[in-house]
Amino acid sequence: MTARTGARIKGGVGESTYRSDGIPKVDGTFIYSSDMYMDRMLWGATLRSPHPRARITKLDIGPALAMTGVHAVLTDDDVPGRKTYGLEHPDQPVLGSESVEYWGQPIAVVAADDPEIARRAVDAIDVEYEVLTPLTDPIEAERLDSVFKRQRCRRGAEKRRGMVAVEGYYEVGMQDQAPLGPESGLAVPDGGGGVDLHIATQWTHIDHEQIVACLGLADDQVRIHHSGVGGAFGAREDVSLQIHLCLLALHTGRPVKMVYSRSESFVGHVHRHPALLWYRHEADADGVLRRVEARIVLDGGAFHSTSSSVLSNAVYHAAGPYRCDSVSVEGVAVKTNNPPCGAMRGFGAVQSCFGYEAQMDKLADAIGMDRIEFRIRNALQRGDPLATTGQVIETSMPAVELLERVRGMPLPEEGASEDPRLLPGGTGLTTPGASVRRGVGYALGLKNLCFSEGFDDYSEARVCITPFGVEVHTAAVEVGQGLGMILTQIARTVLGIEDVVVYYDDTSKIGSAGGTSASRQTQMTGGAVLEAAKMAREIALTRGNGDELDDAGVWRGGELVTPMSELVGGKPIEYHIRFHHPPTEQPDENGQGNLHVDFAVAVHRAVVDVDQELGLFRVVQIDTVQDVGFMINPRSVVGQIEGGVMQGVGLATLEEIVIEKGVIKNPTFTDYLLPTFLDAPRIEVQVVEERGAFGPFGAKGVGEPPTVSSTAAVVAAIRDATGLELNRTPVRPEHVALAPVQAGRHP
């Protein structure tokens, strides 16, 4: 069977089509989860712990319940089912009862007539604490065996030694996903003991699984509808207010809406794990990498979330996309009283990359080799085993081509501009052009695609050909990345029918599509739609007795033999599929095995202007080449790459949740600084389209690789400009201006 190619249909794959939600998003009519209103709707609010660790000695909801306009105040006693939830391990209480283990942990929830009354009711709850000393040091936590998981990868001879060795320790701060849309949702009781939840999430079915368990309801009593999502980046993988909303709606019998404030959002979702890393790299004098040793400590915070998987990923990616036959990596994810950490774009690979790419520069310098040349010499290629897990790479792995391409991209001119918008310090007018030194840094990063380690990764989709066009049904979540457009393009190309609409079904109407995470939806739900559309086409050709299909109907030998109205007038054609990617394995005791289904690589070159005296810098330009398999929508691929790079630049230069004794000191956008328009570098994007192993038309996921190595590249550029070691990210002004005072600790 041959599918039609994009050239033959308008809006098919390979074309930069426009997204269907574009116009409602620019004219303000697109409805996000925070925009929903219903008659008789109540507003929810949450009481949170003001201490990172404490025993609750008194919890009296009476004063809050007595307030006019307050309809419910719920605590742990009101959780009818399982008292805890969690993505991989249900260890987090729906509402803290006897004790609290992190600052901001929910203790009670309120429903009231308006948000102000709800807030006042939260303040009126009488709660007393016996404050305990929090465990906030990850090294101390490991010593006390307060550990979520240990993971190691051991491969090859332990004594293999190169002629040249470099060591270093590195530290990555806690980054926030900071999606602009705060956590929000609306729960609506169905009158029969069940509930419909409209929510901004990344995976409706995994929410559903946790919600029904905690509510003690049957699967069919709860329906999760994904509503407009204002960005995600990992922040919406874990449950935040989902269960609370359902509890309040069921308890009051009325719709309940909740919207987190920004400060609440900072404690309402998990963050990127802060990391302490130690590395030792050895190579021969001719530049062949001989041994990589690493130790990685991730602070998982108070509850498990996805710490185990993030740790595994950090360990499996610890050597990067480089060949090496002798590897030893030890990783640990510890449990502390810091804010819980979990998924964020890059998922462990970001932390490792910051370490191994600094090491690759150091090692190249120690050998006396050009840094790019050294990377090319050791870059992983198809057919090589991954240094850590030993898995032979069977997907496209164009790392060498990436490095060669980025080296050839033109560098920006050294500007003599005195325009402050082009200088470090920006409109603060701190820096004359003469105080600026330019640096250039490179980093190459590796990222696995889709779920790994034997996880049953699948996506369901249903493709229907009706007299009114094609319907694509999925439970996959569009978080803004443009999935709807991708699915539309795939269906059009396969079916030859232009009129395609994507329906985001609730959890009762279709099975799981898996999470919008791990760069997986283009390959997984895209793969499901591809296969379902192929089958629907086969059915149409058989039913219509022809050899071609388009909007008009079925054709044979260039003649329309079965018009669409006749083809599907009586009965639509429908095909439902559960699409699995090729199976993966669980690791053995040394972290070996075919753990991953696919990989992508990206390279970044950062050009940074530095005012060393004041420690200020401006990222001038990022040049990047990314391995994308095939671009289903080129404009959208570029958009993903630019956005992902920017989040990496943020981690290099600005973004860190500052924690003191378990308390977040900067839970606002005044002090958690996201890059502004004036902080944005020019980003030059190139891609390598070498078809991947199993994605539709050879496409690979593109969301995460831009974030994996851009941070490392920017910090490398600042090192280049200053000659400083800078082993911690984000780089703060004092790290540059007051060198050699350095942050960071040996793990």
Binding site: G639, T670, L678
Partner: protein, 151 residues
């Protein structure tokens, strides 16, 4: 308290309960959810509206203070087809999650009203109060550069 204001060219009235923001009232009372709340403190620009001809953050305007004022929201910009800024942002792929987009639309329209041909750097500075988390700003700049005739 009863407040009267001209919103998107129409005389509107609404009731305030206390010190709530114009942002809250737009969605809660006036059926205009276009302006978006993302930080409650004027640090993201998502709630940008025009108040008496000036670009402001509606989260920082106390609703009682707009009595007698003229307000234009994102919904008021594209009433006779898309505003050129709206079209440019769709065309350049500047919309991803879109949560910041209404704020960018209002702020960019305000900029172009004052300065129809801003340079790229003028665009970047004028929009430095609007945070976008998805796009890295590249597609936004390309869209607005095309309107301003910049390369």
């Amino acid at each position: 308290m009863r407040i009267h204001a001209e919103v998107n060219g129409e005389a509107r009235e609404f009731e305030t309960k206390g010190s709530e923001s114009l942002l809250f009232v737009l969605a809660d009372q006036l059926g205009l959810p276009g302006a978006k709340g993302a930080c409650e403190q004027g640090e993201c620009g998502s709630c940008s509206v025009m108040l008496d001809g000036r670009l402001v953050c509606s989260c920082l305007v106390m609703a009682v203070d707009v009595d007698g004022s003229e307000i234009v929201t994102v919904e008021g910009l594209g009433r006779s087809g898309l505003h050129p800024v709206q079209k440019a942002l769709v065309d350049s792929g500047a919309v991803q999650c879109g949560f910041c987009t209404p704020g960018f639309v209002v702020a960019a329209a305000a900029l172009l009203d004052e300065n129809p041909v801003p340079s790229s750097d003028e665009i970047r500075e004028a929009l430095s109060g609007n945070i976008c988390r998805c796009t890295g700003y590249g597609a936004i700049l390309r869209g607005l550069d095309s309107l301003a005739g910049n390369r």
